[in-house]
């Protein structure tokens, strides 16, 4: 009997002993945790960024030496936290040494995670902590006033504001509360703010919706087909209720020529019906630029 090869359908994963940790850390994470680079404090630093707290379970103090050409010539860190927090800090210092602050400013938390070959999703907040410390250090160097907390606190347990939640959602295309927690911890404590976080996600999704519905470019045939379908499915049945019917005569560019029968044709209000109803429907369902013309 010919049996299908199950391995092709469900590829066998090879489990290695060294993967047997509570988190699936990449080799790079392990390397940066076991042999972290640039640990310590630069005594004559001209930029300092401190983020996190003991209560939160992780904290990072980043000190930088920036030269007259705005180039980061040295970076050191001190971190309190888990293996991925230490690894993210170590990676960050490696990434920024030698870069100008304009270049360093472009580093995102994703870049830090990528540099480490990825982080477990529950640990993405470690990379966000690195990015935040870098941002703070650069503002410190530029002499920008200490940023006031923007927005209002949503997550009381970890002191996260709606502003920060919005930013994380936008930058990382997050779509649910759990992923927000993984990235910036909000919602990881008592859970009372889950509804608040969901509200922000919903609000951003609605805002994003129009841009997502980018008008699809239709070919001529697709366009005509869609107009035909829409007339048949959506418009004709509605007119029929009033004892009328509609027939598509021609489409020329954005002009749609239709013929009306029955009560509609003789109705004085037919002009209104066409404008208000058929055109509105076609614009909504096919294309914004359609103009409906009646032919007799």
């Amino acid at each position: 009997m010919n049996r299908p090869n199950v391995d092709l359908i469900f590829p066998r994963r090879v489990f290695k002993n060294e993967e047997a940790l509570m988190w699936e850390y990449t080799d790079n994470v392990k390397k940066h945790f076991l042999n972290p680079k640039n640990v310590g404090i630069i005594e004559d630093a001209n930029a300092v960024g401190e983020v996190g707290s003991m209560a939160c379970g992780d904290a990072l103090k980043l000190t930088l030496k920036i030269d007259d050409n705005k180039r980061i010539v040295d970076a050191k860190f001190q971190t309190f936290g888990c293996a991925s927090a230490i690894a993210s800090s170590s990676a960050l210092t490696e990434m920024i040494i030698g870069k100008t602050i304009e270049e360093a400013e472009k580093i995102t938390n994703e870049h830090i995670a990528d540099y480490l070959g990825g982080l477990p999703k529950e640990k993405m907040h470690c990379s966000v902590m690195g990015r935040d410390a870098l941002e703070k250090a650069i503002s410190c160097y530029l002499g920008e006033p200490e940023k006031k907390i923007e927005g209002s606190i949503i997550c009381e347990c970890f002191g996260v504001t709606d502003f920060e939640i919005e930013r994380a959602i936008k930058e990382n295309s997050l779509t649910n509360v759990e992923s927000v927690t993984n990235y910036i911890k909000a919602g990881g404590g008592c859970g009372n703010c889950h509804e608040g976080i969901q509200d922000i996600i919903d609000r951003l999704l609605i805002q994003e919706a129009p841009s997502k519905k980018e008008p699809k470019r239709l070919t001529n045939i697709q366009r005509i087909k869609l107009i035909e379908e829409t007339l048949e499915r959506e418009i004709a049945p509605a007119l029929k209720k009033d004892g009328g019917s509609i027939e598509l005569v021609d489409v020329d560019g954005s002009q749609v020529f239709v013929k009306l029968f029955g009560t509609c044709a003789t109705c004085k209000k037919s002009q209104l019906t066409l404008k208000n109803y058929v055109e509105r429907k076609l614009r909504e369902l096919v294309s914004e630029d359609l103009i409906v013309e009646e032919v007799s």
Partner: protein
């Protein structure tokens, strides 16, 4: 290098004599204990023997014991039985430091029509029994208090609590998963109605647990189906594991003295040395009322997952109450209920020993821990602030 295993509150090694007792029931002794024929009946006798062995360890008669699939099933069975048997009562009393098996079920019930009273603990993890007694009402369906805490090893005064609760005619259940095999359990004199235990915490196999149900306790089964366990827990018996659990009960009874002398001495040596050689380290929990094998030590200003991973480099296995290792973002609910400050809760390590640990292993840990903590502290932004710059 072999692992140095000090995580016995998570699970234990199956004793070789336990494994040996189990093996025939995976091979030639495959009969169903419920069958009419001798081939099955023979196996039924071994199940009965296991029940007796457990009874001797607990001070219970065999018919007061049902076998389940794990400690969690035993806990669920007990709590559901109590609330189903007392449908008019809508209050449950438990503690703030229970294992998730009880805690999460009670939290679930609190969202589904039950009023749950969580009894607090003090800084030493000892229960506020006066609070508990004050909250006993005619509406209370069950009081469930663990015998010993899995994270700190703190032992609660179960005899006293059970007596008080019974005086009010309320059902009393205890999750004794961590206590059985480590401290004596005398159910003849301690008026507990229901008690949960788990095989793999006492050198038995995983996937088997038991529930003691005192004669006369109102009961309603959790799993319904066949007539196994006299209708109190349906499902074909996990024979090999039941036999193993019976053997394990016999085994730990013979080791109880060693556990409370040699193992306890090793634990004391370990914690005394670590607290002495490592600054800003302290023991969590009531040291006077504790399991002999457990110590929870907090190392301030460092984080538990990092400590565990560096210990793992030396093949030392333990566990932590830190947020990162719990898979959540908050440190252990037990340490937080005790009011352990964040500086220490994130850096807590639990060592839980067993009769298989040797003094050499303990000396090895005592040797390896100080540099691990020192290394992480040298990276921590809080350490210098805490001790003042050198």
């Amino acid at each position: 290098m072999a692992v140095i295993y000090t995580d016995n509150n998570a699970t234990t090694r199956v004793a070789p004599e336990v494994l040996e007792a189990m093996l025939p029931y995976f091979s030639d002794q495959y009969g169903n204990p419920s069958s009419m024929h001798k081939f099955g009946g023979k196996v039924g006798l071994k199940v009965a023997e296991a029940r007796e062995r457990m009874g001797r360890l607990l001070g219970a008669t065999p018919d007061e014991i049902i076998f389940t699939s794990c400690g969690t099933e035993s806990d669920s069975t007990a709590i559901w039985a109590a609330i189903r048997s007392n449908p008019e009562k809508k209050n449950i009393i438990t503690t703030r430091v229970e294992h998730p098996a009880v805690k999460n079920l009670c939290e679930h019930l609190s969202k589904n029509g039950y009023r749950v009273t969580f009894v607090p603990v003090d800084r030493n993890g000892q229960l506020d029994t006066d609070f508990l007694y004050r909250h006993l009402t005619d509406d209370t369906a069950i009081v469930s208090v663990m015998w010993a805490n899995n994270e700190t090893g703190v032992v609660f005064p179960i005899e006293e609590i059970a007596s008080h609760v019974k005086d009010r005619g309320i059902v009393f259940h205890t999750d004794a998963v961590q206590a059985v095999g480590k401290v004596p359990i005398g159910l003849r004199s301690i008026p507990v109605d229901m008690l949960s235990l788990s095989g793999h915490k006492l050198h038995g196999p995983k996937g088997i647990g038991a529930l003691f149900i005192r004669k006369g306790t109102k009961f309603s089964p959790f799993l319904m189906g066949g007539h196994q366990e006299r209708g109190r827990r349906a499902g074909t018996e996990n024979v090999a594991s039941i036999v193993g659990l019976g053997k394990a009960c016999e085994f730990v009874a013979t080791k109880l003295e060693e556990e409370n002398t040699r193992v306890k001495a090793l634990r004391d040596k370990l914690e005394t040395a670590l607290v002495k050689t490592i600054p800003n380290a302290f023991i969590n929990g009531d040291v006077a009322h504790r399991l002999p094998n457990t110590t929870s030590i907090s190392f301030e200003y460092v984080e538990g997952e990092s400590i565990l991973l560096l210990m793992d480099e030396h093949e030392i296995a333990a566990s932590s109450g830190s947020a990162c290792t719990s898979g959540s973002l908050e440190p252990s609910h037990v340490l937080r209920a005790m009011g352990v400050p964040f500086t220490a809760a994130h850096g807590s390590i639990r060592f839980s020993l067993s009769i298989y640990n040797t003094e050499e292993e303990i000396d090895f840990i005592i040797d390896k821990m100080p540099p691990i903590i020192e290394r992480l502290r040298s990276m921590s932004p809080y350490w210098e602030q805490a001790v003042g710059k050198p």
